[in-house]
């Protein structure tokens, strides 16, 4: 017994020695070929390693996991990493072939082999079961970049989100089943729910980011149904070979971590970085700013590359409901309203005689709208067995008895709603301001992103403002000494959000606003002073023809370090705002705001009325006029905006 074991051992050892010498000469050949061609200088090699030059002019790989590199200094030295990789491709097979470098780095292996295909090198291909299963599971034929629209209820999603979808071939029935595709997502593994900690860590790259594959239907349910966000799918011109390369490269990234930077190396950035790694002809990152906003990547893809083959719009459940509701007659709408009311108030759902007497088509139309309505209003409740679920079951049961197909809902949003046609998110402004104190000021503003309601009405939700890092300065007479000119910070918004979705009988939406920033406050009781501000407003917006009217109660917390007393005070009061958009170029907004303050000055309140109008004479340029009355001071101003 021992003897036979010994013989097996000897045989095994001699075999591996043989294999080892055989492969080392082959690896020597391969390395010589790589060195002769200086392959480490090739752009795609650098892209496969995610080498980029950063802000401090340092060129290194953006991947932060040691397990992504085979050479000890691989993060900094692409040549060393290539030579180490080529050498490793000839390594002996261990117990599990899936641990072999060829299986761990299939994209690198594929790429090197392709580059050296003219050199006769005895490659020893390892069979990588797990990678092959992954590759087969994705069954990629083409690639789409998917943009999910802005979601104001979650600050991290208010800029939108992008991910890649690997499109499968048509199935046997000749149809594409997009729901069965896989998506590739890059996201931060957030370890906190504290919004402020979250924001801080996100901005400074303190979350690890990871790539994940995820069934596309999950994304559809999450975005379209649970969060009611639209999805825009951009199919890219990607050859099947490049799709294979993409799948192989994503496999390499699976176990790695990349620090997630909310503004720069974020989800959208790395969707583009993997596309560049997969296809040497793709060049997008160089066309982007240092800051990467998801919508920007879609716009750049559309405008600055010829990569987009076509786009497809996948409406949210909310949008589908409103579309169905539009197709109802007045009588059907009344029926639907009745059903909706009973759904929210009663524990039982019966169908009226009037409903029963309607034609089958009509019943089907009403119920189809009603089903989508329920899913939108009660998206969480209908997942579980509960009251809403029981009621909905009755609706579906009734629907199943009506022998009529559902109307196909096809929505093609007009150009001003398409995110790839959006105006640019950054904004510079220069302007002039005149006050009733007969003083003149020069204004200088810069906004990092994204959109306010007077900006060109292109590509962003028209009922919202999403401002991130907006800075405004004035240059003019100092309040203490009018002869002296001073530069003053007038306004800073770290984050400012306005959501003014109009109330409808179907969906009693609330409207709200939030601002965190610094304002230079004018008050008759003290000299202009800087105050830190947290502002929250809550109310409703009503649509009145082409106008919409917002009424909110707004509460402020002020912190004014330069005041001698009442450094911290709070105030609250009503805000009424009238908004009118004539077309994508013209918009007007006027508002009146009254606030009662907790501080005990002579006069404890504040009143402001203002009117603003903007004419955007092109997608990149706009002029905004302002009139503001703060009771003791009136200001008129004009600003020129450049979107970049």
């Amino acid at each position: 017994m021992l003897r036979s074991l010994f013989i097996i051992l000897v045989l095994f050892l001699s075999h591996s020695t043989y294999a080892s010498t055989g492969s080392s000469s082959a690896s020597g050949q391969a390395i010589m070929a790589v060195q002769a061609k200086k392959l480490w200088q090739e752009r795609q090699w650098l892209k496969l390693l995610h080498f980029e030059t950063d802000f401090f002019r340092v060129r290194e790989s953006q991947i932060d996991s040691a397990n992504f590199f085979l050479a000890p200094n691989g993060k900094k030295d692409p040549q060393a990493e290539l030579l180490a990789s080529v050498n490793a491709f000839f390594a002996l097979r261990g117990n599990d072939p899936n641990d072999h470098p060829q299986c761990r780095f299939p994209a690198r292996y594929k790429w090197v082999k392709e580059k050296l295909r003219d050199t006769p090198i005895p490659w020893l291909d390892v069979k990588c079961d797990r990678f092959e299963a992954f590759h087969k599971g994705l069954q990629g034929e083409s690639v789409s970049l998917v943009f999910s629209s802005y979601y104001l209820n979650n600050p991290s999603s208010s800029f939108g989100h992008t991910f890649v979808r690997i499109n499968k071939a048509s199935s046997k029935d000749g149809q594409r089943h997009e729901l069965l595709d896989y998506g590739l997502n890059y996201a931060a593994e957030a370890d906190t729910n504290n919004a402020f900690l979250y924001g801080f860590k996100g901005l400074f790259g303190l979350f690890p980011g990871q790539f994940r594959s995820i069934p596309y239907y999950y994304k559809v349910r999450e975005y379209n149904n649970a969060e009611s966000r639209d999805l825009w799918e951009y199919e890219l011109k990607f050859s099947p070979a490049a799709v294979d390369m993409l799948i192989a490269h994503v496999w390499e990234l699976g176990p790695t971590q990349i620090d997630y930077w909310y503004l720069t190396e974020n989800c959208s950035y790395h969707m583009l970085s993997i596309l560049e790694a997969a296809d040497a002809n793709v060049d997008i990152l160089s066309k982007l700013d240092q800051y990467v906003i998801p919508a920007d990547t879609v716009r750049v893809l559309w405008n600055n590359t010829d990569l987009v083959k076509s786009y497809k719009y996948r409406p949210s459940i909310r949008r589908v409901f409103f579309e169905r509701q539009k197709h109802l007659t007045a009588a059907e709408t009344t029926q639907l309203k009745n059903l909706a009311d009973r759904f929210s108030t009663s524990d039982d759902l019966t169908f009226t005689e009037e409903f029963k007497q309607a034609s089958a088509e009509s019943q089907a139309r009403i119920l189809d709208a009603f089903i989508d309505y329920i899913d939108f209003r009660y998206s969480a409740e209908v997942q579980e067995a509960g009251r809403e679920f029981q009621l909905k079951m009755k609706v579906l049961e009734k629907r199943s008895q009506i022998d009529k197909d559902a109307e196909q809902v096809t929505i093609d949003p007009p150009p001003q709603e398409r995110p790839h046609l959006a105006h640019l998110a950054g904004r510079w402004g220069v302007g002039y301001l005149h006050t009733t104190a007969d003083q003149d000021f020069t204004l200088l503003t810069h906004r990092f992103a994204l959109h306010d309601r007077l900006d060109p009405g292109l590509g962003y939700p028209s009922y919202s403002q999403i401002t991130f890092f907006d800075l405004g300065f004035s240059y003019g007479p100092s309040p203490l000494d009018p002869q002296e000119k001073k530069l003053e910070l007038e306004n800073f918004a770290a984050f400012e959000l306005v959501s003014a979705n109009p109330w409808t009988p179907w969906i009693p939406e609330r409207s709200w606003r939030f601002k965190l920033g610094v304002e230079r406050t004018q008050n008759e009781n003290f000299l202009p002073t800087h105050e830190g501000i947290i502002r929250l407003g809550y109310g409703w917006t009503w649509q009145q023809g082409a106008f919409d009217v917002t009424t909110q109660i707004v509460g402020d917390v002020h912190y004014a370090p330069h005041l001698s007393d009442n450094k911290l005070y709070v105030g609250a009061g009503p805000l009424v705002e009238l908004y009118y958009r004539f077309n994508s170029a013209w918009a007007l907004q006027s508002s009146a705001f009254y606030r009662r303050d907790s501080a005990s000055w002579d006069q404890k309140d504040y009143l402001r009325t203002q009117v603003e109008a903007q004419w955007s004479f092109s997608k990149k340029w706009g002029v905004r006029a302002l009139y503001r009355n703060e009771r003791f001071l009136e200001e008129t101003g004009l600003q020129l905006f450049k979107y970049y």
Partner: protein, 162 residues
């Protein structure tokens, strides 16, 4: 200085309030990613770590507004469904849309399921519509029950390839 502290405290309190809101949300949806079902986040990280996991996050957030409470763990290997697990995972995540499609007798979700099961989607649509009550009403939206009922109805009507 004292007032600066108050502002900081106010910030933290609002942050915590936010956290608690999310906590409730997570409770409602029933799980973190670790214990997730078929549809998402089945953790199958191997010792070598060469895995691509399925999970969902939205950009940078781990916010889950709807969740999956039941299902089989370990449905996936390297981010891809193991064979035989596609159907239960699909039903689990798509049950609401699937019930709608069944009642209407057609739709994208139903077509997707028919494809996974190797069935003719038109035939499956009309069979599911006809047997809507039998499939869905008593299930309380338990995915396993829905799946069993669909299998039964589909077998009885013999609409799927061999």
């Amino acid at each position: 200085m004292k007032l600066a502290k108050i502002v900081v405290v106010a910030l933290l309190v609002s942050g915590v309030a936010h956290a608690q809101k999310k906590g409730l949300l997570a409770q409602a949806s029933g799980q973190g990613y670790g214990q997730a079902g078929c549809g998402l986040g089945s953790i199958v990280m191997g010792s070598d770590g060469n895995q691509i996991l399925a999970a969902t996050t939205n950009g940078t957030s781990g916010n889950q507004t709807f969740g999956i409470t039941t299902g089989t763990l370990n449905c996936q290997q390297d981010g891809i469904f193991k064979s035989g697990k596609e159907v239960p995972a699909f039903i689990e995540v798509n049950k609401v849309a699937l019930a709608n499609d069944a009642a209407r007798g057609q739709g994208e979700t139903l077509a997707g399921l028919a494809n996974l099961m190797g069935c003719n989607s038109q035939a499956m649509g009309s069979v599911m519509k006809k047997n809507y009550n039998q499939i869905f009403v008593e299930t309380n939206m338990q995915p396993a029950a829905i799946e069993a009922n669909i299998n039964q109805v589909v077998a009885k009507n013999n609409i799927c390839g061999a």
